[in-house]
Symmetry: C2
Subunit: 597 residues, 2 copies
Amino acid sequence: MLKSIAWIFRPYFCHSTRQLPRNFQKSMPRHSSTHCWRTHTCGELRRRHIGERVTLCGWAEFCRGKSFVILRDWQGQVQMFLTKGSAKDIPVESVIKVRGIVQSRPEKNINHALNAGDIEVHVDDIEVLNTCKSLPFSLQDFAKKGEETRMRYRYLDIRSQMMQNHLRTRSNLISSMREFLIHHHGFVEVETPTLFRPTPGGAKEFLVPSSVDNGLFYSLPQSPQQFKQLLMVGGIDRYFQVAKCYRDEGAKPDRQPEFTQLDIEMSFVSSNDVMRITESMIKKCWPKDLNDHEFPRITYQEAIEKYGTDKPDLRTKLSITNLSNLFDSKDTINCVVVPDSYHKYLSKHTADGMHSKLMHFNDECARNGIFFWENGNFEHISGDRIENYEVLSDVRIWKNSSVVWLSWGDYNQVKTTLYKAIPIVADTIESNGDSIRDEGYKFLWVYDFPLFEADGDKLSCVHHPFTAPHPDDTELIHTDPTKVRSLAYDLVLNGSEVGGGSIRIHDSSLQRHILSEHLDIETDDLEHLLYALDCGAPPHGGIALGLDRLLAMLCGTSTIRDVIAFPKSSAGRDLMCGAPCKPDRDIMDHFFKPKIR
Amino acid sequence: MLKSIAWIFRPYFCHSTRQLPRNFQKSMPRHSSTHCWRTHTCGELRRRHIGERVTLCGWAEFCRGKSFVILRDWQGQVQMFLTKGSAKDIPVESVIKVRGIVQSRPEKNINHALNAGDIEVHVDDIEVLNTCKSLPFSLQDFAKKGEETRMRYRYLDIRSQMMQNHLRTRSNLISSMREFLIHHHGFVEVETPTLFRPTPGGAKEFLVPSSVDNGLFYSLPQSPQQFKQLLMVGGIDRYFQVAKCYRDEGAKPDRQPEFTQLDIEMSFVSSNDVMRITESMIKKCWPKDLNDHEFPRITYQEAIEKYGTDKPDLRTKLSITNLSNLFDSKDTINCVVVPDSYHKYLSKHTADGMHSKLMHFNDECARNGIFFWENGNFEHISGDRIENYEVLSDVRIWKNSSVVWLSWGDYNQVKTTLYKAIPIVADTIESNGDSIRDEGYKFLWVYDFPLFEADGDKLSCVHHPFTAPHPDDTELIHTDPTKVRSLAYDLVLNGSEVGGGSIRIHDSSLQRHILSEHLDIETDDLEHLLYALDCGAPPHGGIALGLDRLLAMLCGTSTIRDVIAFPKSSAGRDLMCGAPCKPDRDIMDHFFKPKIR
């Protein structure tokens, strides 16, 4: 009988086998049973507790016969053996409280599926605190349900080991970051307003009507950018905030209308200072060992040249090689070379498959084709054929045998094409069970972004309008603005941007010039900031880390919704509570009918 | 010459003489000069640094001649003596960077107004990082400016020692609370959504129009109440959050449309558990010594009986005495007795003054009068005369001589009258230089609040609709609901409510009954919560502390605006940025014109 219980009691919700990261397990609170009815959590009981009288509270995960109950809380499960009373009519997921003595289980009854499978609690007092009267479906089936169902009954989804781990990892990571900044580096956490003013051109902002001033609106800020700069003017020289930010992007997959960033700003710093302190923080707070990790830096231009993107994924050992100088052509001619040890996975057939996958993006693709190189023989296999490709036969960048994905045409298109080709190659190789990607976390700084990007005649800013130009390029601002580099930097992790920042402009005339001469932004709405810069603004810079994305990557999940307690659906809806919705008539009148004064 | 500098360099902005609390000074970060240009802060330099070469960055608070500059940062001031270059044309409040060697000052030149008045830095390299081109007024005059000006130029106000201390105290207090909860008691910090759904009757909520679903709205939550209860259902059994909350109360003095609360919820607890852990947290985190402090508890009824209010200020040693049983009357007859040692400050003249002050509240006042009692003689001095007051001549609750403020009539009116009389008496006594109030922090729990209050035939809830009734009063819910006590408790500090909480209802049928039978609230909008209670909801309760109010009291300031970096004016406006405002036409169209799909 016990054996069958053992079989059933693999923990629910197996949709993640991940456990809390090692360092966090070490620092697991030992005092989570102070000031409450229980003496221990279910999950903490071990052989060392044998003989102790304990009080436990939790969920009845399974009841068998009248005597056996598996009791569960966030920390784990333990078996109850009722010496008095009966568990017969207790519905699963009911909340119960028990008192009893921890006992050893005979060797033959040990349940190896449970961490505490070698003990059980002999219960002499059981109390049902709340009967579970309804469940939308059996919780064992939860993992099979789609995301919409998980969202609708999020409170049940949160009972899963995965969500418990994610939310606890989130709390611990952010708490470590706070302690690093406050205790080790003298930062001050300052809360800035979230009822802000609509900014010109801020089409992505949520509006909040004022009930006092009819026709006037607050906005929900996209970031505390202005406030943190004003704090620098105010002499709070090391600021941070775990800031809720808002972006109304309508319905986009894996974007949230509200998201959280770790917002940092420092006075009297250079780019290097901000990057270094960010690295230290991540190394110190990351619950997995990053001691031997580097945070390499490359310029924006190098990143595009070598990876075709400003957020390269350094786990993949593939990059772009420039072959333009071998050809007598105005075209950019680049390639991705697959090392010969992987040659065996790539046939004519798989090459066709890879090429047609790429052509899904055909709007943006340059001409491209896949070639095999073997024993000095360069052979076209799939896709387009480049003229005079025979000149490549003698090129010695490849060893014995290689697969070469070649692309030619416009510089930007070629780079984008090969950037997209790289994961297709990697996926194809890995579908054969081999590995071409490193495990773990590959951080990278990309810096020296351009200050502006051109859209026809119109310039817009690559980061935001407060980003300082590179001091070596100040002359170019007037003569050739698109050539101007900025003092901006992005932090990239495994091919995703997880943070971005810059040194800001602290000179009001330069700021005014960039706003009005280049970006065509009305300075009327920013006069408070421009005036502040004239009142003794220190040089300053900072960074913002996207905590949702960073946590999703730490937890190894593909969607940020898995690290947010109550996320919105991809259409921006709260499926559990039903938001947004139509307010009562009288509430609407309160906001939208002109008042008689 | 140095003497005159000494005279001038009392720190700017003397509108608070308060320093950082002692415990916080001890734990002052020693590493606030990592990863930046400076080696030290200006304010940390002391005699122990003599001989060290330092790099400092800060604001030129004063320049005298070509050689002397007082440099300031958040931590304090230190004098520069320029051995090269000139300070002649540096406007005050310019931002400069200097390099030099810390030197002792001759005994006769010591400036006792500065903490570092016995040293100076001999500077061989000075760089003006940003010239101060404009100031709305001399910063020395800042303290004299009204609050509106301080708000408009908040970034300058933040440079003051007072605001620096307040913002740093805020950061430190909240950080201590977090560490207490996470590290000592196993809590998980969970961020809950701020784009919520409008709740029925939620007239005080801000609305946020959805740009995707025209005509639908989110609301900004007044508290994370529903989400924290759903987290309990989800098995996060110890939750907290430093939560931004919103209340659209229009223009109210000393209220902010957005405010911050420390929001706590726990499963498997009784009221006592929540109160005890809150006390431990405050004692542990309060930067001033609270070791010998008690957190006494009185019921709501006792509080009204003895102090006429549910938020008594225990610093004042005055309370209400019930004399009703001495009279043959249906009226409530109560009094406040001023101990005889204070008798000397109260004359016929001051009594008239006190009485007329009280009568400013005359709408709500019961009949009342002030009497002198001396040597067994009870004499009417001011206000109304009660019939048969001679019976009081022999009452021995007063010693040799006393002043007695008597009120009679309706119970509630009498209590309110005397509650308002108490501070008038105390102020009058203290205007004579004596003291009748204790210094420091007097905490108090008030519990057993009524569950409902009646407004005519209609019931509303005293706390919120999820508050559990007292288990001894469950029968009364059906027979006499206004008599039902709740499991709610308020934390009161020096006469202000700084926190409130309760044990919540975890039984869906009781919750449904209270919502629909008593409070006349449509359950349609709460079905998600009611359903969740049926899915195995643990018994739970919690508390929310108003951090703005708590910090204002800790910092000894009368307005919460002094502990908020960028507060709104009493009319809900951001005077610095100009919010709320009229958005661009195209933004408005984006939200408020029906879309063609």
